[in-house]
């Protein structure tokens, strides 16, 4: 089978603290992969390592069989990996539309000189970008808020916009960090459908961090559980739900539906 992302024994230390210790896993192309674990287990840190925001202390990371551990964040993005943030990071003072349009930039390659000259290349590529942005905004259901300042959108729409912005890059791998945080169960269910839908539509692989078990169990093909920076378990939702150490460290005994 085709593994799009291979994480081989990565470690990240902050001073004396091992935030991620010797973790390895592989993500299958086209799948939805869940990353769960107690607070402070190192989930966000793994995203930060994959996207190049932190440098790994030890180990190896391969994306489509290319090393990505020494890349700058923007280079990682150029490879086709992008993400959303646990605490939303939009371009707050720009409009919804500008947020998306900006993120489309890599789908064109007119130069600074082209833009100054306003030549043909600029014009065709720019109108192409605008078309892409329009389309994406419609898909994300943000068309009627497109001229709103991103920072003024309600929380749920901000999350949606952040996902939209990530999609604008036409990524192959999308990392979602707690996309349902702050959403009520109803909204969470909508989000679940949205994730599935964009996976199919854009032919994506998705890695998602969540504490909402409904969402994780509902959409993931494979789940990795972290605890204290180390791998605790890996398997299908069913396997995970039945794994006693996971139940003990993370899920708790009672019913988990919220």
């Amino acid at each position: 089978m085709d593994k799009i992302l291979k994480i081989k024994n990565i470690t990240k230390q902050f001073g004396g603290l091992t935030a991620v210790g010797n973790v390895d896993f592989e993500v299958e192309k086209g799948s939805i992969f869940g990353l769960i674990g107690p607070n402070g287990a190192g989930k966000t840190t793994i995203f930060n390592l994959i996207t190049g925001i932190y440098k790994i202390t030890d180990g190896e990371m391969l994306f489509e069989d290319k090393r990505i551990d020494n890349l700058q964040p923007f280079q990682v993005a150029e490879c086709g990996i992008t993400r959303t943030f646990q605490n939303i990071r939009l371009f707050k003072k720009l409009t919804t539309y500008e947020n998306i349009l900006t993120a489309c930039h890599n789908n064109s390659n007119y130069s600074l000189v082209d833009s100054i000259m306003r030549n043909k290349k600029f014009k065709t590529e720019e109108s192409e970008l605008i078309k892409q942005a329009d389309e994406l905004i419609k898909i994300m259901g943000l068309w009627d808020r497109k001229d709103d300042i991103a920072g003024n959108l309600p929380y749920g729409l901000q999350r949606r916009l952040e996902i939209g912005r990530a999609l604008a890059l036409k990524p192959k791998l999308l990392l979602l960090d707690e996309p349902a945080a702050g959403m009520n169960p109803e909204e969470t269910i909508q989000l679940m459908h949205l994730i599935k839908e964009i996976r199919d539509r854009f032919d994506l692989t998705v890695v998602v961090i969540e504490h909402h078990m409904d969402l994780i169990m509902g959409i993931c093909d494979n789940i990795l559980v972290l605890n204290f920076g180390r791998k605790l378990a890996q398997g299908t939702p069913r396997e995970i739900q039945e794994n006693s150490s996971v139940v003990e460290a993370y899920l708790g005994k009672e019913d988990t539906s919220c």
């Binding site: 702050g182 009520n184 504490h211």
Partner: protein
């Protein structure tokens, strides 16, 4: 004990709260439930004095609450704000001590500190870490711990379970019940409506700035329309 009457709040042109009335009695847990942007945080912020309502009154123990936020805290109303309003540049311990800013009972503070460490052992491991580098959930624990340290009469919790692991959410709700047992009053804002309703005495449903329903929590939890809208259960 706490009474909000005809509260109207505007952000520029946005009418965020439209004539909200709520009432909280001593020793109760009261939940506010509503979807994103309904105005829940705005309500708590108005009570804390951070947002100035255009109209309406808020009375506490029969008196109108003071104008300035820090005086409101002095009256014994403490908010654990939404998101992570912890002090990133202070250590974990200093953050907890900030909770005791208005207190002078040194020995009791020491004991309370121990209690908080017992509730959240993770914090104890990290007392000298800069709070800004904690994980999301750890920061949430810290915010909660800090709120407890201020030993208020009434505690306003804004989405305390946000971003917490399931096991921890359980703990948090247990803690909330603990707090109630200490005869404190709690006003709880939650997305996790099921959990919130199951521990609350009373609840209000807030929609687009208006209270659309109120009642005893155990009644609301069985209400069909509420089940559909907030509990994620299809009919």
């Amino acid at each position: 004990m706490l009474k909000v009457e005809n509260l109207n709040v505007y952000y520029g042109g946005i009418h965020a709260l439209k004539g909200v009335d709520i009432e909280v009695s001593q020793g109760e847990i009261v939940s506010i439930i509503g979807s994103n942007g309904a105005g829940k945080s705005t309500l708590l912020n108005s009570i804390s004095g951070i947002v100035k309502p255009r109209e309406g009154t808020i009375t506490y123990k029969g008196k109108e609450i003071p104008k300035l936020p820090h005086k409101i805290v002095k009256e014994g109303i403490c908010q654990v704000p939404e998101g992570r309003h912890i002090f990133a540049n202070l250590t974990v311990k200093e953050n907890l001590l900030m909770g005791t800013y208005l207190r002078n009972d040194k020995e009791k503070i020491e004991r309370d500190l121990e209690d908080v460490y017992n509730l959240f052992p993770r914090l104890k491991e990290r007392i000298t870490q800069m709070a800004g580098t904690l994980s999301g959930g750890e920061q949430q624990m810290l915010a909660m711990g800090r709120g407890l340290m201020s030993n208020p009469d009434i505690i306003l919790l804004d989405e305390p379970s946000l971003g917490l692991a399931p096991l921890l959410i359980k703990t948090i709700f247990e803690i909330i019940e603990e707090i109630k047992k200490m005869n404190k009053t709690i006003l709880l804002v939650e997305q996790n409506a099921y959990k919130a309703l199951s521990i609350a005495d009373k609840a209000y449903i807030l929609e687009q700035g208006k209270i659309v329903k109120k009642g005893y929590a155990k009644d609301l939890i069985n209400d069909d329309s509420i089940q559909e809208a907030y509990l994620g259960k299809k009919k």
